[in-house]
């Protein structure tokens, strides 16, 4: 797509601005929604509906003492939280929010997304390692193993979409869904991608790297202030990213009836999945680490491969 992008920098700035704010706003959304699910009030004092809690939280995180434990590996300790934010933000480059609103329509957009989210594993390993704390180390080891295994079928589950649309470009994938959203032919792929996405963002029920009741805060136990804030924001941007990807790959991206503009459709669909992420957190217990691995390798991987083969066979059959 060679659309003229006179406001190229505007889009970059816009995406950056919106994403950071969405991530911050999600703090409020999550806390209010969780409270709603759990029969309590949640933050409701600061500003209307407690909205200013976002400001309060950010101010608190920004002005906390920038503390690096004396036993930590300083440069790595500082680098780790930056990686998570950078990789997630970079992934947003390839997301088509609406026709023309995309930073870069790469012809390998999907691969770029996979590459970037894989890089996120570094932040966990490095953060846990540099903290020089046993809880962090355990969390980091769990996190690394979890992310690497779930990477495998996350990538494979997407291949069904690629087969159907014949492209790695996210814009073309969206365009290919004009007739039928891919979540119908690719329902298995969608479910697996969703599960892998939760594991990738290590949210409950897959929050094993930070399992609060076991490992306190796992890999970021030693972090505080804005460095903790970056892990925090990174997590929220992570679930936003996964929601965006689900919408783009399986739910027709910006496509929708004409009475609303494309960008609004995209936002609505994404919000829907964000809510599901939060609802999941309110309702599920956490499996054990080895159970999670077993589930991944013994259930999800064969299923993904099967899905890929069936899809390939069907595509081949239809084209002939």
């Amino acid at each position: 797509m060679e659309t003229a992008t006179p406001n190229y920098f505007l889009i970059i700035g816009g995406v950056l601005f919106v994403m950071l704010n969405v991530a911050a706003a999600l703090i409020w959304v999550e806390r209010r929604l969780l409270a709603l699910f759990q029969d309590r009030y949640g933050p409701n004092r600061a500003g209307p509906f407690g909205l200013l809690i976002v400001a309060a939280d950010s101010i608190k995180l920004f002005f906390k003492q920038d503390w690096i434990p004396p036993f930590a590996d300083k440069p790595v300790f500082v680098l780790a939280p930056a990686i998570v934010v950078v990789t997630v933000l970079m992934s947003f480059v390839v997301i088509p929010f609406a026709p023309g609103i995309i930073v870069a329509d790469l012809n390998i957009g999907l691969l770029f997304f996979l590459a970037m989210s894989s890089m996120g594993a570094y932040s966990i390993i490095l953060g846990g390692w540099a903290s020089n704390n046993k809880y962090s180390l355990l969390g980091a080891m769990r996190g690394a193993a979890q992310m690497i295994s779930y990477e495998v079928f996350m990538g494979l589950s997407l291949m069904g979409v690629v087969l159907l649309s014949g492209s790695f470009s996210l814009v073309e994938i969206v365009e290919a869904q004009r007739g039928l959203w891919f979540f119908i032919p690719q329902i298995v792929g969608f479910v697996i991608f969703f599960i892998a996405g939760i594991a990738e963002t290590h949210r409950l029920p897959f929050d094993i790297p930070e399992a609060e009741s076991e490992l306190i805060a796992g890999f970021h136990s030693e972090y505080s202030g804005m460095k903790f804030g970056m892990f925090f924001i990174g997590e929220y941007m992570g679930i936003t990213l996964i929601s965006c990807m689900i919408v783009t790959l399986y739910f027709g991206g910006w496509l929708g009836p004409d009475f609303l503009p494309p960008i609004v459709w995209f936002i609505l669909k994404t919000l829907f999945f964000l809510m599901i992420f939060i609802l999941l957190r309110a309702s599920m217990p956490r499996p054990r680490y080895d159970q999670l691995m077993e589930y991944g390798w013994k259930v999800l991987l064969p299923l993904t491969l099967l899905n890929l083969m069936v899809t390939a066979a069907v595509v081949l059959w239809v084209s002939e």
Binding site: K134, A211, E214, I216, R281, M284, R286, P287, R288
Partner: protein
């Protein structure tokens, strides 16, 4: 309940006529003095050889006898060690006493005979300075290792004002800091095995998963637990020492705080013992009121356990729903007693006040409301496949192991036993109620949960029966030792007035003697063993709590599991730190 003569006859046939000196007590438990060279032989005989044996070491404690008023022509021992054994088949206790004349006696250890004797003997050593020969690890257990003196000895000061001003010298700082250094060897742990170096992970004393100030030293190989050593005592407040300077009446509020989720249930355990001493029979209305409140607290305690257990395995929401329901129970408790968690509402010989007007509606509303919620929780927690995956087959112990380690309550019933003191040795009128004792058979974390959830339904049944059949009558017994005394008995002449005045100010004087109570508390068998030398306060008060032996079992049941399983095991155990440390 008791068939003491045959036990005594068997023992005498085995060890000789003169070996045992029976003593009469207020609680009708067969009490025998025995010489200290026969301790191990007699206990082995009682555990293994006698027909219908006594397999459970219910309690092991000591008394410092040195300041006791001479009475009954007892031999003036300096210290007495007391063993309480329980036989399930006979449905009776036996109490064995051994007297020592030394200032710092040495006793043969029975830790090889009963697994749970280990911690009890350490506690006796810690509290009395009595040494046990043959004990594998005789260190302090509740007090810090740097502590000087043994708190339950009578010469040890009971309050800070008796101790002189506190000073922290440099040497003391160095000493305390050195004591904080972690050396695996001091805990009986190896640093490495043949093929790997172990990692030591310190869980607690401040950790979101331990539900209180509990420290567990984990020896890990990867994430697999090689050994887990609980370090307790952070919550030790000297409940037993405090009893020795409180009056019989003013000690009541302290009992509330032992199992702080059990509320008035602790009052009951204490009062059962005191009322046995005093010979008070409480009116029926008092019995039923007490049962109703105890069962309300059982539900409240189980709700806390339910929610936090779900949270331990990662489920965030149930704890909020369950605490909301617990609030509803506290609304009733508050209307009746004025208090919430620690109502301190039972009194010697009765309860503090009669039930308020309209209590029936409150209780009825709760009875209507709660079963629906329990059903919802079943769907949310118990039937959840992830919850099952985290708890089924985890932390298994068999019935024999449970008895060996002194496990009681729901944890015991999850192994298949139907032992419930409310049924087997009914107290406070439980024999009048119609309820079942839920059991399970696998003895894993999930089954412990099954039993507790079923218990809540049974408690609700009991409460409903209390509501329907609440007897009329006084809420205090008409007995001279009832405290506070009944007002109408006072305003006759100066004598009755003085009696009342003394009963309220000094508190009642309990007759000389000793008695033990045993109730089915929220977490297992809770018992108070009180000894009176005819004074206004107990000479010695021993609190036997269920959590103490349960926690002792932790290393045994966690070996080979992972860190995540440890949290399931801890959650399913349902302990309260105050109940462990007292």
């Amino acid at each position: 309940m008791e068939n003491g003569t045959s036990t005594l006859a068997r023992l005498q046939a085995q060890f000789g006529e003169d070996t045992f000196t029976p003593q009469s007590t207020k609680d009708d438990v067969l009490t025998l003095w025995m010489p200290h060279d026969k301790i191990v032989a007699v206990l082995t005989f009682l555990k293994k050889e006698i027909p219908q044996p006594y397999p459970l070491l219910y309690d092991l404690t000591a008394i410092d006898e040195r300041t006791r008023k001479p009475n009954n022509g007892h031999i003036p021992y300096a210290f007495t060690i007391i063993y309480h054994l329980l036989s399930f088949e006979r449905n009776s206790f036996i109490r064995l006493k051994v007297g020592f004349r030394d200032e710092f006696p040495t006793v043969p250890s029975i830790s090889s005979l009963w697994a749970n004797a280990n911690w009890y003997e350490r506690e006796v050593y810690d509290m009395f300075g009595i040494r046990f020969t043959g004990h594998p690890h005789l260190y302090r257990i509740l007090m810090p290792r740097t502590w000087v003196g043994h708190p339950l000895r009578k010469e040890h000061p009971a309050r800070a004002t008796e101790m002189g001003p506190f000073a922290l010298y440099d040497e003391k700082v160095d000493l305390e800091q050195a004591a904080l250094q972690f050396k695996p060897e001091e805990w009986g742990l190896q640093r490495q095995s043949d093929d790997s170096d172990f990692m030591f992970l310190n869980i607690g004393p401040q950790h979101p998963g331990t539900h209180g100030v509990l420290r567990i030293v984990l020896q890990l190989d990867g994430e697999d637990i090689v050994d887990a050593i609980p370090d307790i005592g952070f919550h030790h407040r000297g409940q037993e020492k405090m009893a020795e300077r409180q009056s019989w009446h003013t000690y009541l509020p302290y009992t509330d705080r032992v199992d702080y989720l059990g509320g008035v249930m602790n009052n009951l355990a204490y009062l059962m013992a005191v009322e046995k001493l005093a010979g008070i029979q409480v009116p029926d209305r008092v019995k039923v009121i007490r049962v109703m409140l105890c069962e309300l607290f059982r539900i409240a305690s189980h709700l806390v356990w339910y929610g936090t257990f779900a949270q331990d395995v990662g489920q965030l929401s149930p704890v909020f729903y369950m605490f909301t329901d617990r609030e509803k129970i506290f609304d009733i408790v508050e209307a009746i007693t004025g208090g919430r968690m620690h109502p301190n509402w039972f009194r010697i010989g009765g309860v503090a006040q009669d039930l308020p007007k309209g209590w029936e509606t409150l209780v009825q509303n709760f009875i209507n409301y709660f079963p629906k919620r329990l059903k919802e929780y079943d769907a949310m927690v118990m039937k959840n496949s992830l919850f099952k995956a985290r708890t089924k087959g985890i932390g298994i112990f068999t019935l024999d192991e449970a008895i060996e380690w002194g496990v009681t309550g729901p944890n015991l019933r999850a192994c298949g036993s139907d032992w419930d003191f409310r049924k087997k040795q009914p107290y406070s009128g439980y024999e009048m109620f119609d309820f079942d004792v839920p059991t399970a058979s696998n003895g894993d974390c999930y089954d412990r949960a099954v039993v507790r959830v079923a218990e809540m339904r049974q408690s609700l049944r009991i409460i409903e029966q209390c509501l329907k059949n609440m007897p009329e009558g006084p809420f205090k017994s008409d007995h001279p030792l009832t405290t506070p005394p009944i007002k109408k008995n006072t305003m006759h002449d100066i004598e009755t007035l003085i009696t009342h005045f003394l009963g309220v100010t000094w508190g009642p004087v309990m007759p000389v003697g000793e008695a033990m109570s045993c109730i089915e508390a929220t977490k297992g068998a809770n018992g108070y063993y009180v000894t009176s030398d005819g004074n206004t306060s107990p000479y010695r008060l021993r609190i036997r709590t269920p959590s103490f032996p349960h926690m002792q079992m932790l290393p045994y049941i966690t070996k080979g599991y992972t860190v995540a399983d440890l949290l399931s095991i801890l959650g399913a155990m349902d302990y309260v730190l105050a109940d462990i440390d007292r």
